[in-house]
Amino acid sequence: MNSPSSFNPNSLLLAALLLLSQLLLTTCRNLGLHQLNYDGADDSPTYIWPLPSQYTSGNQTLTVNPNLTLFTSGNGGGSRIVSEAFDRYKRIIFEHASSKLPSSGIDYDLDKLTILVHSDDEELQLGVDESYNLLVAARDAHSVIGEVTIEANSVYGALHGLETLSQLCSFDYGTKTVKLYNAPWYIQDKPRFEYRGLLLDTSRHYLPIEIMKQVIESMSYAKLNVLHWHIIDEQSFPLEVPSFPKLWKGAYTKWERYTIDDASEIVDFAKKRGINVMAEVDVPGHAESWGTGYPDLWPSSSCREPLDVSKNFTFDLISGILSDMKKIFPFGLFHLGGDEVNTDCWTSTPHVQQWLQDHNMTAKDAYKYFVLRAQEIAISLNWTPVNWEETFNSFPTSLNPKTVVHNWLGAGVCPKAVAKGFRCIYSNQGFWYLDHLDVPWELVYYAEPLEYITDASQQKLVLGGEVCMWGETADASDVQQTIWPRAAAAAERLWSAQESRSSSTTVLERLEYFRCLLTRRGVPAAPVRNFYARSPPIGPGSCYRQ
């Protein structure tokens, strides 16, 4: 709802309601805790995660017809992305057997859902309009039958609207029907940050496609929108690269590999859920596995990392990888790594040492030379390069101005980067590294990407943040327990407007509720309250209290 000129009659109606609801916004927060055994409905929290930026609700309870029908309008309403998502959410909302079939004796309050999507442009990119309005009309003298309407500028906003709608509904075990509580609802929502990422590492442990898909599906429940795919590292090279077909000899086994079509399938699966996939090629360090297929990339067979800076072949190969990846990954950002580069092998290997001398470079110069040359390759392919913060820390003035600096070492680099005009992604390892098991949910929740940045124009340069699931001790068996629920804590930080976030006393209750919602959807999300992440429950009890 950015430009009033795009309003059609439907949206004018919504606009009028919006006006009305703005008036009610502060007075109408009586959200019943219908789902739980709690009493004291009046001060109970809103169980939507992440919390929408603006909303009002009432105190009506509406029954939802299991044969809920979808009506679409607007240029983008006919999109398959919308209709497939509607089917997925119907399966989630009407999960209980007894809620699937309409009972003949019941008049349901809600029979139809209207989704209005203004734009038919389905390109998914950073900054795509993800806003939506969700209206659940009251049952009153004017309308006997309740209505649900989602309005969005893009299909991706509509997906977020569906997710929110699914969280408003819950199964009533008493009447055996699905109910939507606290109607009427008016929700006007948009993300605080355009980049809301989760890193998956498929080099330390291969993650089968089914597992990747489970993670992507669960990301959409928390409205995360970037899967940062750390495909390759020193331990293994699982991805097929047609230009250099020996590269994936660096895979652990031939079973632990992704073909080009597999990768495209993941990108497509993610797109249908509004999630971008940002690929990473981490150079020149973290690349030892490349040499399994092409030993020339190693400085020597006994000193294997970083990649040999002295050979043109190294850069030809990077260029080949990136050209191949360009065909798979349409996202505008591409991650070039650049972290933790130990240049000892360059200075201790005679032919590299010689090359350094010939070019009058120190090892540090060579590191800069490598990163900048890789950046040029990415930029020539129309990619915006993202680099880990060491690149900025080592040579801030030389980095390409388009560079997005990816923080991880600690607090403080984003303020410096944006002060120099760079864009930045926040992943402070003290809070947002999910493999750090001793970071409880509160620390994750209260980490702030805009910390120490007060200037509004500089704040705009912080694209958002990302939680990182490094894979050393996370494989298919425990990766999801390590991700959830802490990634959800960060997701609210990244989505919800600061002023709309609920008070800290209710956050835990809301997060526990969301964690249980994840488990109901089949996502193995770990207990919230344990100090150490992914540890088992300490004893019997309700999901909502652990």
Binding site: S236, E256, P527
Partner: protein, 571 residues
């Protein structure tokens, strides 16, 4: 195509994979010292030759499951022969049922068939267009012939199947023959493990054809217990457990629904019982339970429901406080109150409409009768009846057994009932062992039937290695072969105190799979030394991961995380 060990070695070396060395070292570590002693005795030269030959054989086994002599089927079938050919699985792989007497009115076979194809194709995107391949190299479909028209799933039904996959034909069809549709389902599971994605063809390869497999389970009862009272398990989680049970050919889901901590199930006759659920949303409706039963049935899995009385039932009293001896002495259920038995009768009556398995589990374990002695009205009732507390325990168990029998169930009770009541138990009782090993022998000698779950080997919530799950033998020490049939089988138990929806899969798998082979595979085909099956189990664990099941590493005691980066196949 790699056909000989030597070619295989060459192939492996050109693939130059570090994994092989890793596995080799791992394997060498695990070889029995006897084998090394034998090698040492052979003298230096012969040792070298033997060692090289060992290496060659070893690579032949490990380098490429598509081509080598390794069978990666879990659990191992009774009788297997196979060849060295490969076929491509047709893009339009079809099911034909000509000649089958099974009408498949409820779609059990059709749905199982399409699930099979879906999981086979889930590991990678299939790019191969099999219409462009010579028909003589394509497996066009599977012909399933079932001789029984019935779809009734019950204890002891015929689960055998024969699976043939020819190497030649025009066109080529695999064939499954089975007495029941549930045998055919096992055949499809086996078939799915013979198929795998091939990077060279970019399609699904049916490897090592021709296959001739004749298979049947060693035990008719192959169970897994889940506990939804200590932690509620959402429907989806239970369904995922059932899916993976089918992959391992387990056939009984023992649903420990209710316990002291919570009562999540709806009981229409006594609608306040589920007031004992943790919260109003951690519940199962009757329709949910029926859905679980039907979901399981479609996968050949029976659901054994349990009410654990008279102990482990405190949560019942939330809805009906008169079931408790007193307000502050809340368990076991009040033996002196007729309402207690009326209510149990109501539960069992409701059960009989949902749970069609011929057994019901009545618990009876860990009963502390102090509340009966301490509560005045119960105590005076005991005196009036001339009963001690252990008599009352016996009275309770036997009275509930009668109720269950009156609803057409055969009864299962935990082993305490046998230890304390012994010969007075209904002769139809199946005694469920758990306290220790060696109990089965006593039970069958006493003329009763038995299910083995000794906690030192088959409790999944305990710190127990997969090797111990594998080695636990239900017929241990039962020398009289005529008594063997009284051991119905075994069950691994996933008690829920310290597990919830987040970690249940990882705690169950792969250790439950290790026990599943013990219960399925004929005794003489079971490995005497578990390390002999390590690579096959490791392969199966990675297959579970590929299918989206969060099975943990083999190393460790069940809640272990991978200790560092590496291949799934080495963990």
């Amino acid at each position: 195509m790699v056909t000989s060990p030597l070619m295989c070695l060459r192939y492996c070396l050109t693939e130059s994979n570090n994994l092989l060395l890793l596995i080799l070292l791992q394997n060498l570590k695990e070889r029995s010292s006897a084998e090394f002693d034998r090698m040492l005795r052979m003298g230096r030269t012969r040792l070298k030759i033997a060692y090289i030959w060992y290496l060659v054989c070893f690579f032949a086994v490990y380098c490429d499951a598509d081509d080598a002599n390794e069978i990666n089927i879990w659990p191992m079938p009774v009788s297997v022969s196979f060849g060295s050919g490969n076929l491509h699985l047709s893009n339009n792989f079809e099911l034909i049922t000509e000649g089958s007497k099974f009408a498949d009115a409820s779609g059990i076979l059709k749905e199982a068939f399409s699930r099979t194809i879906d999981i086979v194709r889930s590991s990678h995107v299939v790019e191969l267009d099999t219409s462009k391949i010579k028909p003589s190299l394509v497996l066009k479909g599977i012909h399933v012939v079932i001789s029984s028209p019935s779809d009734e799933l019950q204890y002891g039904i015929d689960e055998s199947y024969k699976l043939n996959i020819p190497a030649q034909g025009n066109p080529i069809y695999a064939r499954i023959e089975a007495k029941t549709v549930y045998g055919a389902l096992h055949g499809l599971q086996t078939f799915s493990q013979i198929c795998s994605y091939s990077l060279s063809s970019r399609g699904i390869l049916v490897h090592q054809v021709p296959w001739t497999i004749a298979d049947q389970p060693r035990f008719s009862y192959r169970g897994l217990l889940i506990d939804t009272a200590r932690h509620y398990q959402p429907l989806r989680v239970i369904k995922k457990i059932i899916d993976a049970m089918a992959y391992t050919k387990l056939n009984v889901l023992h649903w420990h629904i209710v316990d002291t901590q919570s009562f999540p199930l709806e009981i229409p006759s006594y609608p306040k019982l589920w007031d004992g659920s943790f919260t109003i949303s951690e519940r199962y409706t009757v329709a949910d339970a029926a859905e679980i039963v039907s979901y399981a049935k479609k996968r050949g899995i029976n659901v054994l429901a349990e009410i654990d009385v008279p102990g482990h039932a405190e949560s019942w009293g939330f809805g009906y406080p008169s079931l408790r001896p007193s307000e502050n002495c809340t368990g076991p259920l009040d033996v002196s109150n007729d309402f207690t038995f009326k209510l149990i009768d109501g539960i069992l009556s409701d059960f009989s409409k949902i749970f069609k398995f011929k057994f019901v589990h009545l618990g009876g374990d860990e009963v502390d009768t102090s509340c009966w002695i301490l509560t005045p009205h119960v105590k005076s009732w005991l005196q009036k009846q001339g009963m001690g507390d252990s008599d009352a325990y016996q009275y309770f168990v036997l009275r509930v057994q009668k109720l269950a029998l009156s609803h057409g169930y055969e009864v299962i009770n935990w082993e305490e009932t046998f230890n304390e009541i012994g010969s007075k138990l209904n002769p139809q009782t199946v005694v469920h062992n758990w306290l220790a090993g060696g109990v089965a022998e006593k039970i069958v000698k006493a003329g009763l039937r038995c299910i083995v779950s000794n906690q030192d080997k088959w409790y999944l919530d305990h710190d127990i290695r997969w090797q111990d799950f594998y080695s636990n033998e239900p017929l241990e020490n039962i020398t009289n072969h005529q008594l063997h049939s009284r051991v119905l089988g075994g069950e691994v138990c996933m008690w829920g105190e310290l597990i919830d929806a987040a970690d249940i899969e990882q705690m169950v798998w792969p250790r439950a799979a290790a026990a599943a082979e013990r219960m399925w595979t004929s005794y003489d085909k079971l490995a005497k030394d578990p390390s002999d099956v390590r690579s096959r189990l490791s392969h199966f664990r990675c297959l579970l991961n590929q299918r989206g099941v969060a099975a943990g590493p083999l190393e460790g005691l069940g809640n272990t995380r991978p200790f560092g980066p590496g291949s799934c196949y080495t963990k």
